[in-house]
C-alpha cells in the first residue's frame, strides 16, 4: 500500500511539469507597517493569476503556460527587499519581478534587477526619484508623486484654494510632496507647513497654526492612519478649512475609520476611481467585488495591470526565461489596462490618468477631474 502511494506521489511533480509553469516573482508587504496596502497589491496579482490560469494559461509559441506567483514578504525593509530580489533572480529564476509598495525598498531592489538582467515592474511606490536612475530594467505602472501632485496643483490653482497649508510626513514622501507643490503653485501661494514624524499622533499644534494662519485649504501628505487622526482633530477643533488628501484617503476603507460628516467636501487625488462609469473600470470592480467581497482599490488595479502587462511582454518577446528580451518587449509595449493605456517613457515611467475625487455628504464620492469624466456622487 505504502509503495503504491509512494509511486503515486512521485508522479505528482511530473504532472505539474507537463502543464508548463512560469514563475513570476512578487515582492510585497505581507506583514509590517505596510501590510494593509500590501493586501490590496496581492489581491490584484491573485485576481490576474486566477483569470490567466482558469483560461488554461497564456499562449506562447504554440504552447500554453500557467502563471505561478512566487511572493516574498519584504516588510517595508530595504534589506529584506534586496535579499528577496536576489533570491528571485538566482534561486527561483523568475524572468520578471513585480510589486513593491515602499519607495525605499524599491530603491534597494532596482540595482539587483539590473545586475541580474531581470526586469522589475513596480505597481505602487510613488517616489519620483526611482525612475530617474537610468536603470533600464526598472518600470513603473503607477503614476509617481510628481505626476499626482501636478494634477492636483492644477486643480487647486483653478479652485483658488490658496494660501494652501500642509501637514506632511517628515520624510522623502512628505517633504518631496511639499516642495513639488511649492514649485508648481509658487511660494506666495503656500501658507503654514507642518511636518510630523512617523508614529506621531497628536496634530493639535498643527491645527492651532492652521487656524491662526487662515489657510483656505490644508493638504494632508500622509497615509491612512495619521490621515484619519488629522482629519478628526481638524474637524473636532471646529476648523472648516477645505481638506485635500492623498490617494490613501479616497476609499470605503477610509470612510470606515471616520464618518461621512467629517469627510464631506474633502478632495483627494486618485489613481483609480472604482465606481467610475468607464467600462473597463466597472468590469474590474465587479470581478474584484465578486472574488473579495469588497470595493476595488487602485493598488489592486495597478497590480492586476502589472501582471497582465508582464504576460503580454513575455508573449511579445517570445520567451519565458530571457529577462533581457522581456525588458525590451516591456520598453516597447502598449497595453490597455484597467487603469488606462500603459506605455513606458524612456525612463520606464508610465503615464496613467490621474483623477481628483471628492467626498459627498452620504459617504459616496464624485469625480471632479479630469473634466471628461466629471460625474456626481456615487461615481468616484
Amino acid at each position: 500500500m505504502l509503495r503504491v502511494l509512494a509511486a503515486l506521489l512521485s508522479l505528482l511533480p511530473a504532472f505539474a511539469l507537463a502543464q508548463e509553469k512560469v514563475t513570476v516573482g512578487i515582492v510585497t508587504s505581507l506583514s509590517g507597517p505596510m501590510a494593509a496596502p500590501g493586501k490590496f497589491q496581492m489581491n490584484g496579482f491573485r485576481l490576474a493569476e486566477e483569470e490567466i490560469n482558469s483560461a488554461g494559461g497564456f499562449a506562447l509559441g504554440g504552447r500554453k503556460y500557467l502563471v505561478d506567483l512566487k511572493a516574498y514578504d519584504t516588510r517595508a525593509n530595504p534589506a529584506e527587499g534586496a535579499s528577496a530580489m536576489q533570491r528571485l533572480a538566482t534561486v527561483d529564476k523568475a524572468p520578471v519581478v513585480l510589486g513593491e509598495l515602499h519607495s525605499g525598498v524599491a530603491a534597494a531592489e532596482a540595482p539587483i534587477a539590473r545586475d541580474y538582467g531581470v526586469p522589475l515592474v513596480l505597481t505602487i511606490p510613488t517616489g519620483p526619484g526611482l525612475t530617474e536612475q537610468g536603470n533600464p530594467f526598472l518600470f513603473r505602472v503607477n503614476a509617481n508623486n510628481d505626476q499626482l501632485t501636478q494634477a492636483l496643483a492644477d486643480f487647486v490653482a483653478r479652485q483658488g484654494w490658496t494660501p494652501l497649508a500642509f501637514i506632511a510626513w517628515n520624510n522623502d514622501a512628505g517633504r518631496g510632496g511639499v516642495n513639488g507643490m511649492k514649485k508648481l503653485l509658487g511660494e506666495s501661494k503656500i501658507g503654514y507647513i507642518g511636518y510630523f514624524n512617523v508614529g506621531e499622533v497628536d496634530f493639535a499644534s498643527h491645527v492651532s497654526n492652521i487656524r491662526a494662519g487662515s489657510a483656505r485649504a490644508v493638504m494632508l501628505l500622509m497615509d491612512e492612519e495619521p490621515g484619519s487622526l488629522a482629519i478628526r482633530q481638524i474637524r473636532d477643533a471646529g476648523l472648516k478649512t477645505q481638506l485635500i488628501g492623498t490617494l490613501a484617503m479616497g476609499s470605503d476603507r477610509f470612510l470606515k475609520r471616520l464618518d461621512a460628516d467629517r469627510l464631506e467636501g474633502m478632495v483627494q487625488y486618485n489613481a483609480f476611481p472604482p465606481n467610475a462609469a468607464v467600462p473597463r473600470i466597472r468590469a474590474f470592480s465587479d470581478r474584484y467585488r465578486k472574488k473579495y467581497g469588497e470595493e476595488a482599490h487602485g493598488f489592486a488595479a495597478q497590480s492586476y495591470d502589472g501582471l497582465m502587462l508582464a504576460v503580454a511582454a513575455m508573449q511579445r518577446a517570445g520567451t519565458v526565461t530571457d529577462g533581457r528580451k522581456i525588458r525590451d518587449a516591456l520598453a516597447a509595449i502598449e497595453h490597455d489596462g484597467v487603469i488606462g493605456r500603459i506605455r513606458f517613457d524612456s525612463k520606464g515611467q508610465a503615464h496613467p490618468p490621474v483623477y481628483v475625487t471628492q467626498w459627498c455628504a452620504n459617504g459616496s464620492r464624485r469625480i471632479l477631474f479630469p473634466e471628461s469624466l466629471k460625474a456626481d456622487c456615487g461615481a468616484g
Binding site: 501590510a35 494593509a36 514624524n197 506621531e200 491662526a212 473636532d236 471646529g238
Partner: protein, 291 residues
C-alpha cells in the same frame, strides 16, 4: 493669538497629563526598588490594548474597561516584580538590562496577538465636543486632564495618610530602617509595582480612544515621562507631576513660534537648561545621599 495660546496650553496639559501618569509609575518604582523600569512605555501600550480588548470584545462600557485594564496590568506588574525584578534584586545593571529586554518581549507579543496595525476605539466621549469660547475640544481630551488630576490627588492622599502609603514612603526613604521597624518591604515592592503599572495602563487606556492603539504608542510618553522625572527631581513624586506637565505645556506652546518638527527637541533643551541651573531638578532632594 490668545486663543492659540489657550488652545496650546490645554493641548499641553493633555499630553503633559499622559507624561505624568507614566512618570508617576516610574518614580514610585524607582523610589522603592531603586530601579528605572524602561519597560514602562510598553506597559502603557499594553494597557491601551487590554482596554481595547475589554471595550470591544467583553463589555461595551469604557469606564469599566479602563478599570479592568488597570487591574490586569497591576497583575502583570506583580508578575514582573516576582519573575524578573526580584530575582535580580541588588544588581542594578541586570535590572536595567532586563527592563530593556522586556520592551522587546512585550512589544512582539502584542504584535503577535493583535497584529501590527493600529486599532480604533470608538468611545462616546471622543464624539462629544465641548465648546470653549471659539475653540472646541473632544470631551475625551478634557477627561484625560481631569482624570489625571483626580488620580494625582488621590495618590497624594494615599501616600500621605494611608498606612500602606506611609509604608511605601518609608521603604523609599530607607529600606533597611523600614525593615527594622517591621515594614514588610517585599510586600511593598510588589504593591508599588502593581500601582505603577496600573497608572501606566490608565494612561494608555485614556489616550487610546483619541490617538489609536498601536505598538509604538508608549515610546514618546516613556521618554517624555522620564524627562519629566529628571526635570522635577529624581525620586520626587510632586516633581514627576510638575515636570511632566511642564514638558507637555512647554513643547505645545513652542509650536506657536517654532517649526513643529522641533517640538521634541524643545522639551529636551528645556530639560537640559533647567538641570544646568539646578542639577538636582526642581524638587530634587538627595534623600539617599547619592551623587
Amino acid at each position: 493669538m490668545p486663543a492659540a495660546v489657550l488652545e496650546q496650553t490645554i493641548n499641553g496639559l493633555m499630553s503633559g497629563s499622559v507624561y505624568v501618569l507614566v512618570a508617576l509609575g516610574m518614580v514610585l518604582i524607582y523610589g522603592v526598588m531603586h530601579v528605572l523600569n524602561f519597560a514602562h512605555g510598553v506597559l502603557f501600550m499594553l494597557g491601551g490594548y487590554v482596554c481595547h480588548f475589554f471595550f470591544t470584545r467583553v463589555t461595551g462600557s469604557y469606564a469599566l474597561s479602563v478599570l479592568l485594564s488597570m487591574g490586569v496590568l497591576a497583575l502583570v506588574g506583580i508578575a514582573l516584580e516576582r519573575g524578573v525584578f526580584r530575582p535580580l534584586h541588588g544588581n542594578l545593571r541586570n535590572q536595567v538590562i532586563a527592563s530593556l529586554g522586556l520592551i522587546l518581549v512585550i512589544e512582539n507579543l502584542v504584535v503577535a496577538v493583535w497584529g501590527p496595525n493600529a486599532l480604533q476605539m470608538k468611545v462616546p466621549a471622543t464624539e462629544q465636543l465641548v465648546p470653549l469660547g471659539a475653540l472646541r475640544f473632544p470631551l475625551q481630551h478634557l477627561l484625560v486632564i481631569l482624570v489625571t488630576f483626580a488620580v494625582v490627588a488621590a495618590l497624594f492622599l494615599f501616600l500621605k495618610f494611608s498606612k500602606p502609603g506611609t509604608a511605601i514612603r518609608a521603604a523609599s526613604q530607607d529600606r533597611l530602617a523600614a525593615m527594622v521597624v517591621g515594614i514588610p518591604v517585599e510586600r511593598i515592592d510588589w504593591t508599588t509595582f502593581a500601582l505603577g503599572t496600573a497608572l501606566a495602563a490608565l494612561g494608555g487606556a485614556l489616550i487610546g480612544p483619541l490617538f489609536l492603539v498601536f505598538p509604538l504608542m508608549g515610546d514618546a510618553p516613556m521618554v517624555k515621562g522620564l524627562a519629566g522625572i529628571l526635570l522635577g527631581g529624581m525620586g520626587s513624586v510632586p516633581g514627576a507631576v510638575i515636570g511632566g506637565l511642564l514638558i507637555g505645556v512647554v513643547e505645545s506652546l513652542s509650536t506657536l513660534v517654532l517649526p513643529t518638527d522641533y517640538r521634541d527637541s524643545v522639551a529636551f533643551v528645556v530639560m537640559v537648561l533647567i538641570l544646568l541651573a539646578r542639577p538636582q531638578g526642581i524638587f530634587g532632594v538627595r534623600v539617599r545621599g547619592e551623587d
